[in-house]
Symmetry: D3
Subunit: 237 residues, 6 copies
Amino acid sequence: MRPSGRQTHEMRGVSIETGFTRHAEGSCLISMGETRVLCTASVEERVPPFLRNTGLGWVTAEYGMLPRATHTRGRREAAAGKQSGRTQEIQRLIGRSLRAGVDRVALGERQITIDCDVIQADGGTRCASITGAWVALRLAVNKLMKAGDIITDPLTDHVAAVSCGLYAGQPVLDLDYAEDSEAGTDANFVMTGSGGLIEVQGSAEGAPFSRNALNTLMDLAEVGVAELVAAQKAATS
Amino acid sequence: MRPSGRQTHEMRGVSIETGFTRHAEGSCLISMGETRVLCTASVEERVPPFLRNTGLGWVTAEYGMLPRATHTRGRREAAAGKQSGRTQEIQRLIGRSLRAGVDRVALGERQITIDCDVIQADGGTRCASITGAWVALRLAVNKLMKAGDIITDPLTDHVAAVSCGLYAGQPVLDLDYAEDSEAGTDANFVMTGSGGLIEVQGSAEGAPFSRNALNTLMDLAEVGVAELVAAQKAATS
Amino acid sequence: MRPSGRQTHEMRGVSIETGFTRHAEGSCLISMGETRVLCTASVEERVPPFLRNTGLGWVTAEYGMLPRATHTRGRREAAAGKQSGRTQEIQRLIGRSLRAGVDRVALGERQITIDCDVIQADGGTRCASITGAWVALRLAVNKLMKAGDIITDPLTDHVAAVSCGLYAGQPVLDLDYAEDSEAGTDANFVMTGSGGLIEVQGSAEGAPFSRNALNTLMDLAEVGVAELVAAQKAATS
Amino acid sequence: MRPSGRQTHEMRGVSIETGFTRHAEGSCLISMGETRVLCTASVEERVPPFLRNTGLGWVTAEYGMLPRATHTRGRREAAAGKQSGRTQEIQRLIGRSLRAGVDRVALGERQITIDCDVIQADGGTRCASITGAWVALRLAVNKLMKAGDIITDPLTDHVAAVSCGLYAGQPVLDLDYAEDSEAGTDANFVMTGSGGLIEVQGSAEGAPFSRNALNTLMDLAEVGVAELVAAQKAATS
Amino acid sequence: MRPSGRQTHEMRGVSIETGFTRHAEGSCLISMGETRVLCTASVEERVPPFLRNTGLGWVTAEYGMLPRATHTRGRREAAAGKQSGRTQEIQRLIGRSLRAGVDRVALGERQITIDCDVIQADGGTRCASITGAWVALRLAVNKLMKAGDIITDPLTDHVAAVSCGLYAGQPVLDLDYAEDSEAGTDANFVMTGSGGLIEVQGSAEGAPFSRNALNTLMDLAEVGVAELVAAQKAATS
Amino acid sequence: MRPSGRQTHEMRGVSIETGFTRHAEGSCLISMGETRVLCTASVEERVPPFLRNTGLGWVTAEYGMLPRATHTRGRREAAAGKQSGRTQEIQRLIGRSLRAGVDRVALGERQITIDCDVIQADGGTRCASITGAWVALRLAVNKLMKAGDIITDPLTDHVAAVSCGLYAGQPVLDLDYAEDSEAGTDANFVMTGSGGLIEVQGSAEGAPFSRNALNTLMDLAEVGVAELVAAQKAATS
């Protein structure tokens, strides 16, 4: 039934290639099927003004999509002179999601910026970004700990995300572009390794959806996030 | 327990004053406690380029906050030269929510823009905006139908929104600013008059939350939205 | 002869509702007929860089018009990414006018920003803004004096403004939109409570005007401003 | 008494060098003392959208100041990414003033843009710009008439401008920078060759001013404008 | 002598991986040592306004650098709201260089946009971009020819680029970052496959350089470009 | 053969009028034929952040073109809200060229900004800007030395620039607009008074060019720059 021939509860193939670029303190290229996002973590020994002298650290994210990551070329945001509402919404979501898994006292007064740049898009770029961003963050924190700059691990749990939706009336896991553009309801779930919820965002794309449907999508998401956390563990251990 | 002395399942006082401004095709001032939002609906007999000659209409929204709607003065976005990520996120949400309750074929090839401008903020401005925006939209559509420009009512159901959250560990309905700034989890629910879900957005502000907690918040939201829909009915009948 | 049926020297009904919003140190909603402007005063204990350590205070203003304050919807300046020349011209005028009635030594090294946001427009928004702005400023200063932060009253006199013009060749007081859009000459007068001139701005909209005509308009303005000052007194005493 | 040693009713030396640049349809370099402004008129055979197919022409103006036209270098507006409020206010004034002396039916459906760029500033740049702009406009219109593109002269009268003010309590004509920065009241008068008023803009820079003072300044302005009109005639005949 | 241990006339390892992304009509990832640039070609069946109905095609380029492509994180240009002067200079160079090798009549009235996005920077990103951009262009043109949309090959020759410079007084080929940041003179040469010059850009970074030095650098460039053209051939045949 | 009737190795008439404006520390109006550029040097006793407390000075440049400097009116960059890529490229070139002739230790920790504003354009504006900018810089430095603010002359040599190109297949010196718009190859040479090269920028505008052609153009440039340096000497001695 699914365009890709996948089962309703079947994820796309996930791969996480760490160390994809050499300058960043942590980096990976995450692929969820044909969606590929480069995630880099940059450590800076300073924090935004509102945190100065508080002892608290900060984790933030920026998101971008290369102009031809998509089926037809999109306008370069730097040329347009501003980031779209969609871009801002996504990067705010990534930053908020990561911070939910960070002990900012243990991080200390420094900032880690995660850049998520979509090299190729086939649906689910915000979820892939969150999952990959956590890996880049993990690697950067490992480096800081190894160097003795951080003593207590500030990462309290894994953070990963997956989208689910109603495609042709059926709840399916991990929407790709073909499904996403036709889905009746689309929901993104950001969860911790231990199954806690960080963000739930469900949208009706046509008819409203029921609590029942939302629950079914959440069941699927739990399956998917568990798989993603396993991939994160494999990539960072 | 709540700063306002309200019960956990108790909404703030809601009032909707229709016809607050005279030029707009539909308008109201919605108050949810001390939060007040002016919503106006503007009808234009043209649609965005991607809809030309499709026979489909469009409903969109813009959101703004007056500089001193808040406790301390915020910078005017027009002076800053751009809308913040938060503003864009909110106005995208309002537009998407309203469209979920609109039959765009019945609307015909015209655009209705809803402007939601926060006169005074005390938490829950995005939810108040959605609830008020629907009233402005309803009034504008009534006017178009009365004039014979639209035959079939394009509004398929009421659309209203409320926020719930965990305050001091307790699920509470309709967060005000004092609660919102302290809440552990914050969730916005956009629902139809018949109880369908349009948007669910839950965010952990510290510790992750459980599916159970989300379900309890949704129970509260159903109570709240029913009350809001009743207020919409009273205001527009 | 006037579209509204008013006498040539007759003002529209003026009302000033103080305390319209709760967060601002001073606020009012001023109505001049169907023109309604929300004015809020925000006190900040800092001044622009060019005044630091001079002991002098600063009063400034910003002006905005809600998108559907007008007959047809105007583009939101925050979305357009800049304030129009008209907006900047008006807010510069408001700030300059208010400062002409302020003893900046007595104010002390603090800034008061007046936001004038037009809720509904029917001509004369800049004059209504100035008259209302002074009320908001008066209330904020009262609050500072009551708290003992200011000892000597820094407001040296009332400041109020009215527009006059040649409509159908006749000098008339307090132009509304129907008159303004047809007026041959349009002049704004900002005056003090004791009748001194702060700003005079007269523009020919077609044929040039004579010194005689300007004098007649000024006669009308003196009548109008006296009425506005009385309304300010009633609102702030 | 005046820093320059001029009489109270004495203008600075005025010179108008026509044809200062070769590409523009009309151009001049106007000097009022040390203030020098390059004015060019550009004719385009199209009008802004709101005038299409109306048969009416348009005259508009843009104003700029070279970064080091002033005592200390100002930031280049092109580098800052926007025109200041002052710049916009001035260029709106120039355009409005010129249009008051143009028969837009006789001009025909074309646009003439006058660029006023301040090469060196010593007070009174907006007045010099208006006076010089009219000369550039006159020359461009002459060229159009000579070519037979325009039959009836669309310029109904001369347009020229001068500033007056209260300096050390005395009314003086044609303020230079040293006076302007100290003046108690500053007024700009735009007038026609036959003495009609187009724009009057008077501002108190400290204490309010009286109607009497305004009248005295207007007397001076009439003297000054007559001299400027004579210079315009000499330059364009 | 060189930090990398390379001979003065020795290039870094070059690799060109075609088809790196799937949506673009042509794409490659070019690596010159540690510098890696993703180049994609996007075909659109329309041209810029100045070319409409001329029968001529257009080739243009955009350039970007991911924020953490460099040793320390650079600000994202989309967030800054504009492209830097350096970025604009480079993308203009890439476009101009490519067009020098294109028969725009044979291309027909369509536009090909090449996006060059630097994934990792270690010096020479503009030269790597040009060399890789040509490959992406070649692949896109091949696709158009295969589809019968273009009959005559519009690419008249290979286009490739290399930088040379005086490092520690010695002329060296293909500067990497360590050399580039210390080089006394830096020159970029864009050449065709048959050895013609398209662009020569030499800059003294300290002391001026002699014609003799420039000639020696050009000798090196000829060696380097020949190697790059061979790599282009291998990648596209 | 040349549209102007000049010999292939013949420059346009060059004139440099120093002290063209009175506020700048150094200024000149340089004319190369009909191309006229106003160059002003502004001294500020502060440096950009990256140079603070290094003892090093900075020389930078900004470039602009008045809207009607050209045959048809160009859009004002300040109104457009940004500087074009061409403008940024040129001002970067001017700054870089000047710095190559400055001993920044001798200059001391201060900044000199050169503004080059094109009053009238007829080809070669960037070269005229560089040649004139050096004169403005020389005059400003003379003033600083005379005042004892600088002891050792920081200007190590003259800096001047000329463009050459292949016009109708023939190498010609100092392209004017008629030639530039038709030239097959266009090259700009920035050189010192003693003949050293600072910048070489050659571009094929159609067919690639040969090393031989580049050498011939360089021969012409040496002739031209010698003449420009003589004019600089005459103007500043």
